[in-house]
């Protein structure tokens, strides 16, 4: 009886070529993505690190700063930290109890839970410029001026769905046996949620907070009309506040090369801050899980 050979015939060779061509295409695409990443980081850091002077982070803009005179962007660095920390805390305070409620008081498939998750999805998709517009309208209604407070509230709304959704994701993964075990020890729902479930999701919670923080730090559109801008340090909730993304944006639009240089330097500062946060998220997410039940 004639044995079929185990090596490839002509038709199979053609199929293999197609396979390889496809493989190449994918490699090219993946390399493109890597190249873009390197290009972006390269150009931001390459252009900006040379422009980075220590005075950038130790001084506020002096007189004539926007014409190329002395000064720094300490106002924006501090302002960004103030507004982002505040917004993240606010978002956490608003979102966390709700997420706990969603996962302990409501049944997994209940219509309410579905509705709330759908709304979170929608909120997640709403562009931050629309939050900015909404925050501005809110501000007008409450007779507030553009200020740290108004910017913080608006930014908190932007961060809320990011935070809530990722905490919800981790909480949903908590095995129901764990909750049942706590219930059977006589713990109430709230005790179970705060002492058992929350401890179980703690690493996820920290990661979620850091992700929201990173988003908040980089968001410009929501604070554009609500936070105002100032060359001084902000010391009260009702004063306007400068933020790094806007500092970059404004300085880039300047016709003076010195000022543009500083925009690059500011971009480096912002990028490094974001990098630090995302590395921290990765690191903490990995190392906080000691007390978790796998």
């Amino acid at each position: 009886m004639l044995r079929q050979p185990l090596s490839a015939d002509i038709r199979l060779k053609r199929r293999k070529r197609l396979d390889r061509a496809f493989h190449c295409l994918m490699l090219i695409s993946a390399s493109l993505v890597v190249i873009f990443l390197l290009l972006i980081l390269g150009i931001i850091l390459g252009k900006s690190l040379p422009a980075l002077k220590i005075s950038m982070i130790t001084r506020t803009p002096g007189t004539g700063y926007y014409l190329g005179q002395e000064g720094g962007i300490l106002n924006a660095i501090v302002g960004s930290m103030e507004i982002t920390t505040g917004a993240t805390l606010l978002a956490l305070i608003i979102a966390l109890p709700g997420v706990i409620f969603l996962n302990t008081y409501l049944k997994k498939k209940s219509a309410w839970a579905e509705l709330i998750r759908l709304m979170l999805d929608i909120l997640w998709g709403i562009p931050s410029i629309v939050y900015g517009a909404f925050g501005f309208l809110l501000m007008l209604t409450l007779h507030l001026r553009a200020s740290l407070l108004a910017g913080m509230v608006t930014l908190a709304l932007v961060e809320l769905p990011i935070l809530a959704r990722s905490v919800d994701e981790t909480m949903r993964l908590v095995p129901s046996e764990l909750k049942e075990a706590a219930f059977s020890l006589g713990a109430s729902r709230w005790q179970t949620a705060t002492r058992v479930v929350l401890r179980q999701v703690f690493p996820g919670l920290i990661t979620a907070i850091l992700i929201a923080l990173g988003r908040g730090l980089g968001d410009a559109a929501s604070v554009l009309f609500t936070a105002g801008y100032t060359d001084r340090l902000t010391t009260s909730l009702l004063q306007p506040v400068a933020t790094l993304p806007l500092a970059i944006f404004f300085q880039l639009n300047s016709p003076f090369p010195e000022v543009q240089q500083r925009a690059f330097a500011s971009a480096a500062i912002l990028t490094l801050m974001i990098l630090a946060i995302s590395l921290a998220a990765r690191f903490l997410g990995r190392h906080l899980g000691r007390h978790r039940i796998k």
Partner: protein, 292 residues
Amino acid sequence: MKKEGLAARVSGLSAFFPVVLVSAIFLAIFLKALPLLSLKSWSHLIFSSAWQPQKGEFGLWPFIIGTLSVTAVAFLLALPVSLFTALYLAEYAPNRARKMFLPAIDLLAGLPSVIYGMWGMLMVVPLVSKYLAPLFGTSSSGYCLLTAGVVLAVMIMPTIIHVSVEVLGSVPVSLKEAALALGATRFEVVRYVILKKARPGLLAACILGLARAFGETIAVLMVVGNVPEIPRSLFSPAYPIPALLANNYGEMLSIPGYESALNLAALILLLLVIIFSLLARLYLSRLIRRSV
């Protein structure tokens, strides 16, 4: 257990907050847009290309087209690269490459949009004005539809890649093995089995990317040119709705109807994004239901 009851009530309120917030945003913007809607018809406001606030002309058509075309260009550029990359990561890449790649993708996703905008101004704008436009026999300032599309494409790629990799990862290994055992090549497995199985999820990934593209503001604003005309080619400037809002919303101009018109633009953007979120949700949940 009074404390318990209070905790339940407070956290219940907090859980309900998203519902309130969505309604509040929608209502606030809708009510502000209403005055203009009572003066002029929807279709006139949407389809008229005359944007002359001083003369009371508030045609939003150039902005709608601007939004749609920037998004479309970005999407067409991002889609193939993202899908191929996701397939590579999910099906072909060695574990080590995947472990390095995914964090890099997330890093790209986490960069602020002003950074992308700056990259666009520094690199893409000169590239387009000096090389690409002359190559196609036109001239361009570089601040145009194509530049914005490229920048936006790079911005939405991480989202599409990330979700797609997750979706592809949910296709059972034994299904791939079944196809391989029939003598299919990897390409045939991908083409006939995996892509088919993962289609709803991949669609959802694309829709999420699109939703992100629609609302992106600062990066686009920085490179798109911001001229309220319907773009004639890839090398002409455009003016998408988010840029319109960013440039004008905060200033309280005393032109009658102006504020209302801007809110109508915001409303249109909001509706677009909500529709896309709902679609993505629909496809994703269908995928989950099917895989159970």
